[in-house]
């Protein structure tokens, strides 16, 4: 990757992190941990990997992202606003009455959202359905699905995993935001999912592992997905919950708690020297 492109993506990731903190502080509730862990993944998708047009959100030839871990919507809202789907000021209406930015994604309200998600475990099936529909019509669009690692507790994920490999959905790319934490603690203690890579392989998937905070690695994995045929791809992205804010990192307490004014100021100071 060119140095300039890498820097641009890293800068976008930093802006999105700052926006997440500002939105959540304004909202007074929400999910910072799993939003911050997915920043590089979402940045790579919206600003490097996916074909999409913020001026024409319903463009038929766009690629699709299904945010299966719907509670991480702040990271997607921030990316959509940054890309130009709606005014950035609107980010501060998150979770407020009448806002298009619902606590979990509402596809009917906000342009750029493909599905209403938040009930965990359903996104991979939705994404597989879109991918299957595209295949039936001979369309070349790709479908991405961002899942949480705690979300993999849901049985429906594995139903969808079987369906996607059965139908050889090589236009489907799942991403597991593997931050190792869920509300009740470490994922391996709540319900051990290991060996995770072997599980996906056994279900017939092409499995890639990346450092989910290394934007070059993340983009490269998406490129490899595009060159994989006859099977779906899953990217296990090793991430840190709350990434970028020292007191939130690796701390399950920040799964679903918003920073207050002082904590937000501290977080923004760490992220960008309080510049934004």
């Amino acid at each position: 990757m060119e140095e300039s492109k890498r820097k641009r993506l890293q800068e976008l990731a930093r802006t999105i992190r700052c926006d997440i903190i500002k939105m959540l502080e304004a909202a007074g509730s929400g999910h910072p941990g799993g939003s911050l862990s997915a920043v590089e993944i979402v940045t790579a998708l919206y600003f490097e990997v996916m074909r999409h047009d913020p001026q024409n959100p319903q463009w038929p030839d766009r690629d699709r992202l299904i945010l299966s871990k719907g509670h991480a919507c702040p990271v997607v809202y921030a990316a959509l606003a940054e890309a130009g789907y709606f005014p950035k000021e609107e980010l501060l209406t998150l979770r407020k009455f009448g806002s298009r930015l619902q606590g979990h994604p509402d596809r009917k309200k906000l342009p750029g959202l493909e599905a209403s998600t938040g009930s965990l475990g359903q996104g991979l099936s939705i994404a597989a359905g879109i991918a299957l529909g595209f295949k039936m019509d001979g369309k070349r669009n790709d479908v991405y699905c961002l899942m949480g690692d705690g979300e993999l507790n849901e049985g429906q994920i594995w139903e969808a995993a079987m369906t996607a490999s059965h139908y050889k959905l090589d236009n489907l790319c799942g991403i597991v935001d593997h931050n190792c934490l869920q509300i009740d603690g470490w994922t391996c203690e709540v319900k051990n999912m290991e060996p995770l890579v072997d599980k996906w392989k056994a279900f017939g998937w092409n499995v890639l592992e990346v450092d989910g905070h290394n934007i070059e690695e993340v983009v490269a994995a998406f490129r490899r997905f595009k060159h994989t045929h006859f099977k779906p791809t899953v990217i296990i992205a090793h991430t840190i919950k709350g990434k970028g804010v020292s007191f939130m990192e690796d701390n399950a307490a920040w799964h679903g708690k918003a920073p207050n004014r002082e904590q937000a100021a501290l977080a923004l100071e760490e992220l960008c020297g309080g510049c934004c």
């Binding site: 699709r64 299904i66 509402d106 596809r107 009917k108 493909e114 599905a115 209403s116 998600t117 938040g118 009930s119 475990g121 359903q122 996104g123 099936s125 939705i126 994404a127 597989a128 359905g129 879109i130 991918a131 299957l132 529909g133 595209f134 039936m136 019509d137 369309k139 049985g155 429906q156 139903e159 969808a160 079987m162 369906t163 059965h166």
Partner: protein, 326 residues
């Protein structure tokens, strides 16, 4: 004006399962609209979707025994421009996959159709596990979902075709066993429009599904005793035809509902929600009274659980008595 119904309702009535209507409706839809796709969960012949599968193999999606996945796959297919019909047993597609129907499909206002088979106690020998008796209640409570319970084979064909023309989620409930064919291909059918199948003055019987037939028989029995009963086929449980129901209640001032379903929260409750707020009249609910079913011959079960014409007759006499201050 009374509707044109089949001529031989009261003797030697033809009998065809409503699920055959679903299968034949899908087959017609396959030809009418190439966006229509059908999803099956290992029950293709039971739900009669094997007809569609064999005619349009490229548009049939086998999901295996994975109904939650199937509901959301359908959601995704609708987002790719398809008109998907999810087809499985009612207890499963409206029960096991309820959250998927509610949150992904209905909240997302996606164009998914649900063919909810094996509705009611007449499923028979399979017993309570497979007898959908709560499906009307748990689907009609979801905002934006259209719920249709056709009365016979022809109406199920029409409802299936009509579902594809509605934008948004639709549930069509049908049964396993042979049931009387009381309508004809020409009998009017419009989603959301209840039809008066028989005019009457003393009591109104509002029914859906196979209970429309029982209501017609009940009206005949009541006529023999000098009681004039109006019979309404209210096939669309949601959105319900308030106008027709209110007019009927204003006219007869006594109402009986009849459904092959739990009375709590079901079809009768839907009718009562309308009438109690607009024209409160004495009501009785014929249906399964807050109990699970069991194995048995369908007709034996219908009798045992109070789902026959004589139960409607009894209920009609009770509401008329109350109306007259008894």
């Amino acid at each position: 004006m009374t509707m044109k119904l089949a001529e031989n309702i009261y003797e030697n009535v033809d009998q065809i399962p409503t699920r055959f209507g679903y299968g034949d409706g899908l087959l017609k839809l396959g030809e009418m609209d190439e966006r229509v796709v059908v999803l099956g969960a290992d029950l293709s012949s039971s739900l009669r979707v094997d007809l569609f599968r064999d005619a349009y193999p490229d548009r049939f999606i086998q999901t295996g025994i994975a109904e939650q996945d199937m509901m959301c796959l359908a959601a995704g297919l609708s987002l790719a421009g398809k008109i998907p019909f999810v087809s499985t047993y009612g207890v499963v597609c409206t029960g096991r996959a309820w959250d998927q129907l509610r949150t992904t499909v209905a909240y997302g206002n996606l164009n998914v159709k649900v063919g909810s088979g094996h509705g009611g106690i007449s499923v028979g020998a399979d017993g309570a596990t497979h007898q959908a008796l709560e499906d009307i209640a748990i689907t009609r409570v979801i905002p934006g979902v259209t719920v249709i319970v056709p009365c016979d084979y022809h109406e199920t064909v029409k409802a299936t075709i009509a579902a594809a023309q509605i934008e948004g989620p639709v549930v069509i409930r049908f049964g396993r066993e042979k049931v009387p064919v009381i309508t004809t291909p020409e009998t009017p059918f419009q989603v959301g429009k209840a039809e008066i199948y028989r005019e009457g003055e003393d009591v109104t019987v509002v029914a859906c599904g196979v209970m429309v037939y029982e209501a017609l028989i009940a009206a005949e029995l009541l006529a023999q005793e000098g009681i004039s009963a109006q019979v309404i086929n209210c096939h669309t449980v949601k959105p319900i035809d308030k106008e027709t129901l209110i007019k009927a209640a204003q006219k007869t001032k006594a109402v009986v509902t009849a459904e092959e379903h739990q009375v709590m929260g079901g079809f009768g409750s839907a009718v009562a929600e309308v009438l109690s707020q607009n024209v409160p009249v004495p009501m009785r609910f014929v249906g399964v009274q807050d109990t699970f079913g069991q194995s048995g011959d369908p007709d034996v079960l219908m009798k045992a659980y109070g789902l026959k014409a004589e139960n409607i007759v009894q209920a009609a006499k009770e509401v008329i008595k109350i109306k007259r201050g008894g």
